[in-house]
């Protein structure tokens, strides 16, 4: 699922944002990225933070200018869990016993 690339998450705006708000946020992000602001280089998604580039910002704005593509993007963004700025917690590994086979006399 391309939820991480959803234009609303890339731009860091809500799914209710108006077209003007979207354009303003995109211009601000492009400026910050050009000046090398660290906080602009990542964005929060329900899957954890992702890296943001100027190309992604331009693509996101273009997507939200198209009514159909905005409709699909809204469908995902409105119903997704809230974005998370922290990486997802890793699942605990299965209860394996590394080295047991060797301890029992088998290789490797």
């Amino acid at each position: 699922m391309k939820l991480a690339d959803n234009p609303f998450f890339v731009l860091g705006v809500t799914a209710e944002a108006s077209r003007i708000e979207v354009e303003r946020e995109a211009q601000k992000l492009l400026g910050m990225l050009e000046l090398g602001f660290a906080e602009a280089r990542t964005y929060a998604t329900p899957l954890g933070p992702r890296e943001r580039t100027a190309e992604m910002v331009r693509a996101a704005v273009a997507a939200l200018r198209d009514p159909y593509r905005r409709l699909v993007a809204e469908l995902w963004a409105r119903h997704a869990p809230p974005p998370r700025a922290e990486p997802a917690a890793r699942q605990p590994p299965a209860a394996t016993r590394d080295g047991l086979r060797r301890a029992l006399g088998w290789r490797p």
Binding site: K2, Q91, A94, R101, L104, P108
Partner: protein, 505 residues
């Protein structure tokens, strides 16, 4: 006069070992103890005789008697505790030859040498020994598996050892080693259900170590016949590697019998969701957020049939939900989207979701969930079935083309190629159900029966050919292909020449 008690004890020891090989119950312990006692008695008798000869200044005869009476009794112990750990593959081979492992001692010796192999030189030596033994049988396949494991390819080693159950040639000592490797491997991965499943299916003779690991697995899985503390400690005492297995036994005994949930009844997402929904004050989740949340959870955790079914149902419910459709229609109007945008958006979302779930299901070798009727469920079933069928047909055709490429592949490579296909076929039919099995079988039968005939007539690989014919027959019986059943019965009725004699199944 001295030889008679020795020979009697030896026969008694072999009878105890043979009886033990037929058992997986408490009698196993009794026969093992009897085998151990007779072994000790043989050793005492042999040493006494040697000392007697030495005291009579017949040292040359004493040395000969050491070789004849003492070495065979201690050879297996030397193999397991000295030659294999130190990687003395040649010594392990010769000691195994001397250990009286039954008919065809080089078969067992080959496997032991492969077990002891630590480096490229040893692997080359064992491979060369294997190539001199034709046609291929269970020992050559097992030895190849052990060498593959030494190279670090555990997955292939596992498949090769599992494939032994299809080979009609049966060296009990070889099967014991194969079963022990599989048990140790499963224990290392914590795959207790797999360990028990394999033990139940293969029904091979079992070593004391594998017997202990099976008992531990039964405790972990809450099996009704799981051994109690006394029996488990008895198995532990009987098995080698006490230090390594002590913690396993303690862990297993800490589990109350029947406490673990068997596979197939995990805490289902439905149950979790129901609990969450029932929590006081929790908002009623609508169908679309539930579907997205289920999808994210499915991506983030190891995929299972239950979580896949839950995710598919959640999506089909959400996409058919009147609330979703009316929200989409209203937003399409507000955004001034083109006519039919709402329906198109639903189709696009269904397609994206199906692609994503199909990719994850393929990776986890899962089949489409049964009894799902929405666009995602249908799309997923179609995608998985067609993709797997195409891949299987292409692979069977490539396999059959090996006959015509003018290259004489080693017999073990022919077997490995078949095992890779057999694994892929089993995974596909397990995931795709009887419908995919019926579609896949005719092509598999056409190519497989040609290969079986070629292996029998041209390559004289009788056991391999018979294994393929037997597998095709079992599949033909499942799908009800009468022509294939008739041919399969004719092929499987042929007597198979092996090193253990001609075998009629």
């Amino acid at each position: 006069m001295y030889a008679l008690p020795y020979l009697l004890l030896q026969r008694l020891r072999q009878a105890a070992i043979n009886a033990r090989r037929r058992n997986r119950t408490g009698r196993y312990l009794v026969w093992s103890v009897l085998a151990g006692v007779t072994n000790a008695a043989l050793l005492v008798l042999g040493i006494t005789f040697v000392v007697l000869l030495w005291s009579l200044s017949l040292w040359w005869l004493a040395l000969a008697m050491i070789a004849v009476l003492v070495v065979p009794v201690v050879a297996d112990t030397l193999v397991r505790f000295v030659f294999v750990p130190r990687g003395y593959h040649r010594l392990a081979y010769h000691a195994a030859l001397y250990s009286r492992p039954g008919t065809d001692p080089p078969a067992y010796a080959l496997c032991v040498a492969a077990w002891a192999s630590m480096n490229g030189t040893a692997i080359a030596w064992v491979s060369a020994k294997r190539e001199t033994r034709r046609p291929l049988g269970d020992a050559e396949v097992a030895a190849t598996a052990f060498l593959t494991a030494t190279r670090g390819d555990d997955a292939t080693a596992r498949e090769l050892l599992r494939s032994l159950e299809m080979i009609v040639e049966d060296h009990p000592a070889v099967r014991e080693l194969a079963g022990e490797w599989l048990a140790c491997d499963a224990a290392e991965r914590g795959a207790w259900h797999e360990l028990l499943d394999h033990a139940a299916r293969a029904r091979w003779p079992i070593t004391p170590l594998a017997y202990l690991l099976e008992g531990i697995a039964e405790r972990h899985t809450g099996a009704p016949a799981a051994p109690g503390a006394t029996e488990l400690w008895a198995r532990w005492a009987l098995a080698p590697r006490h230090r390594a297995t002590y913690a396993l036994v303690v862990d297993a005994l800490a589990i109350a019998p029947g406490a673990r949930v068997p596979p197939g009844s995990p805490a289902s997402p439905e149950a979790v969701n129901a609990t969450e929904a029932a929590a006081p004050g929790a908002p009623e989740p609508t169908s679309l957020p539930r579907a997205v949340a289920a999808h994210l959870a499915f991506e983030a955790t190891p995929a299972t049939a239950a979580t896949l079914a839950y995710t598919v149902r959640a999506w089909d419910t959400a996409l058919a939900d009147a609330a979703t459709r009316s929200w989409l229609a209203r937003r399409a109007l507000e955004l001034d989207a083109p006519l039919g945008a709402a329906e198109r958006a639903l189709r696009d979302v269904a397609g994206t979701v199906t692609d994503d779930l199909a990719r994850l299901a393929e990776a986890a070798q899962l089949g489409a969930p049964p009894d799902v009727g929405g666009p995602v469920g249908h799309g997923l079933a179609r995608r998985l079935r067609h993709g797997r069928l195409d891949a299987l047909e292409a692979a069977f055709s490539r396999w059959a083309d090996r006959r015509h490429d003018n290259t004489q592949h080693p017999s073990i490579d022919e077997w490995r190629a078949f095992i890779a296909l057999w694994t892929a076929y089993n995974a596909a039919v397990a995931a795709g159900g009887i419908e995919l099995r019926r579609l896949a079988f005719p092509h598999a039968f056409s190519k497989g029966s040609n290969m079986a005939a070629w292996l029998w007539n041209k390559r004289e690989e009788y056991a391999l050919s018979h294994a393929i014919s037997k597998w095709l027959l079992s599949e033909a019986l499942v799908v009800g292909d009468s022509e294939a059943i008739e041919l399969g019965h004719r092929n499987c009725a042929l007597a198979i020449p092996t090193r253990l004699g001609r075998i009629q199944t």
